[in-house]
Symmetry: D2
Subunit: 222 residues, 4 copies
């Protein structure tokens, strides 16, 4: 088991918007270089280009629609986020759920444009269903814990270990991230010990007084 993958979702926090998005991305870059741990960021759609242009990090979109080019005003087109510099995309985040048909269409569109994929899920059965679609990652996040400050890896360890096991049976190339309530070093440590390959997290870092210090704490027990 190698180093973990950390994916930081900026949501629509003011602390993660525009110039602030650049600042946090730069802190991620510094901590990633110092530690050797891969940290990727998911800024808001209008910030992808700026972050990807100015900070050498993997940038993920927070959402992508299962569409091609065409008449889809206001939708998120893979070809556009790719050209803006995205490396990958979240799909089906708990705050932006998609139909099963659209998750699958979004997966195909992401592959067409060479984008990596992280499908978010809410429990073991949906994690298994998502894993059959062959994303790079599934990120299991019990919705009731998102933003709670209560770490899924501590209060609901079975959902993490159970997802890891179940996904391994379906498609062992799909990696499992866990999310919801992750912010401290021992949250990440517990997540890795349960077999996940990393974490998807947001407020614990983005809304921290000092995101760089918060990141350093997060990875302190790896």
């Amino acid at each position: 088991m190698g180093l973990p993958f950390i994916l930081l979702n900026f949501k629509t926090y003011m602390q993660g918007t525009g110039q602030n998005a650049l600042k946090i991305a730069k802190a991620c870059k510094v901590v990633s270089e110092e530690s050797g741990i891969k940290i990727a960021v998911a800024p808001q759609l209008p910030d992808i280009y700026r972050v990807a242009s100015e900070v050498e990090l993997q940038v993920f979109s927070q959402h992508m629609d299962g569409i091609g080019e065409g008449s889809f005003t206001g939708h998120i087109f893979g070809g556009c986020i790719k050209e803006a510099g995205a490396f990958g995309t979240l799909i089906n985040h708990s705050e932006r759920r998609l139909t099963l048909a659209d998750i699958e269409a979004s997966m195909r569109a992401a592959r067409n444009f060479g984008l990596r994929t992280v499908i978010c899920t809410n429990n073991i059965p949906t994690t298994v269903a998502a894993a059959t679609l062959g994303p790079d990652y599934v990120a299991i996040e019990p919705p009731e814990l998102i933003g709670s400050g209560i770490s899924v890896s501590k209060v609901d360890p079975e959902v993490v270990s159970g997802s890891v096991e179940a996904v391994a049976k379906i498609n062992n190339e799909v990696k499992v991230l866990c999310g919801a309530g992750i912010s401290k070093g021992d949250d990440l440590r517990a997540a890795l010990d349960l077999g996940s390959e990393g974490v998807l997290l947001a407020s614990g870092i983005v809304k921290a007084k000092d995101p760089k210090t918060a990141l350093e704490d997060l990875i302190s027990l790896v």
Copy 2:
């Protein structure tokens, strides 16, 4: 009656994505300067920053959610599009319909961030309802004509003149645009003769072999 307002929606056309978005925006800029007619553009979300940074034009977002800062992964936050350089936003485009509650919330959020608003509607009753919310513009677009190449101002003139009349009774500060099938000089001429203050259009220009020539034709009878 002064000069018309032309708002060009790039949808998710490949011809309006990334570098291509910049090219079309620059063509709009040239034609606008040569003619004195105000032309604004609505590129995809990830292109707003780039277009607004490199081309001196009014840039509209194709969509904006009725949210504030917070936990709204994958949603479009007014504070972010504003900082990216947006001047305004489309709301409720026929390809990205919102609930009435969300249209109203999006209007309030746009005002908070000093963004101009264009609410899209599909017929006279919805135009009147939208006008009560006080947007800068309502853009009436019968959905069955969008992308048809058949101009609303020619085949359904009553929906345009009826909207203009009805909106004037509700709130005479709200201006009416019309859309759907507009691409030629006589489509725009007809739209203005029916009392609208301009047009919202897309494929006729963005997918034209030469968008600059197409724009010049569009405004040739003003």
Copy 3:
């Protein structure tokens, strides 16, 4: 000002499902006859036929889609609820929001089938927008108070009186109901004193130990 109109929404409460729906509807019937006050009920979709067949009351659907006959599997078709015995329908309840385009389409479909309409709204601006569409009623319900037990007519009287005033200017044939937190006699009294013509309510009656007694209390100050 005549007697108020009381519309009781059964939501998906077990106490308002199936046989229980019949029981509550019968209690409404008794209280309505004893008091002379019009009480209507909105049971779940599968219960409309049974309630309308067995209890002589106005039965409202909880929702109706803006569709006609055709390929709309799983949608709620006006022609079907009409034939099942519905007298009218809620449209755009806070738990089942519709796009503006669909609210308007649903209004037209309801008129085609001779169904009365109650459009639910969340604040004064959306109430005004809804009133332009000409429903029989708008029901203003601040979402944060729904199911709270805190009556809108007491804690947010301005939203009720403001809605009544604003609607009167737009279309004085549209009547205003208010909802959210209404359950006691003085809640209804306050609602009427603020100019509304009645109330839309749910848990306070449906989940009461004795719905009939709760209804009698509700109307005790009329």
Copy 4:
């Protein structure tokens, strides 16, 4: 391989609404008894009670939400359709798509109420994902063929046989139906020859001049 399962979706066709729903259900009953082939019906929500009360057939709901009892106005609650007489439910029909999270929640709710489940899907990958959730049936229907009169079992046989194979690997207790364009005897014959256990169909029977004769033709080659 035993006799096929035929599930007839009444959609919101006028020919399948109210009294007409009863008529078609009765025709299904007669043909089912004469032939020994199991035919189930999926009438509109408000018609479930009436059809289930008057015709001895398996009645499926066209849709069910992934909710429990509570504040879900306008939603379809498993406890209510069960009490109305439903035997099972369609989930995620192409005209009523659900998020993956809601499909899974709907599956759990259906199990809680002892309802059989048919998850509708649009291609092989979504069929596989759905099969992991353990429904009684998956019904694969390429959306572009629905209502086309062009039978999936003839023009896209690989999607049927591929679904059958792929589902068998995931969970061999899940049965595969196929839909889209099925109406004639040789459509059903081809569907069975491809390994499906039956068909989900609609317009070919419901909108036929004589539904009973159309049903007899449908099963003529079994």
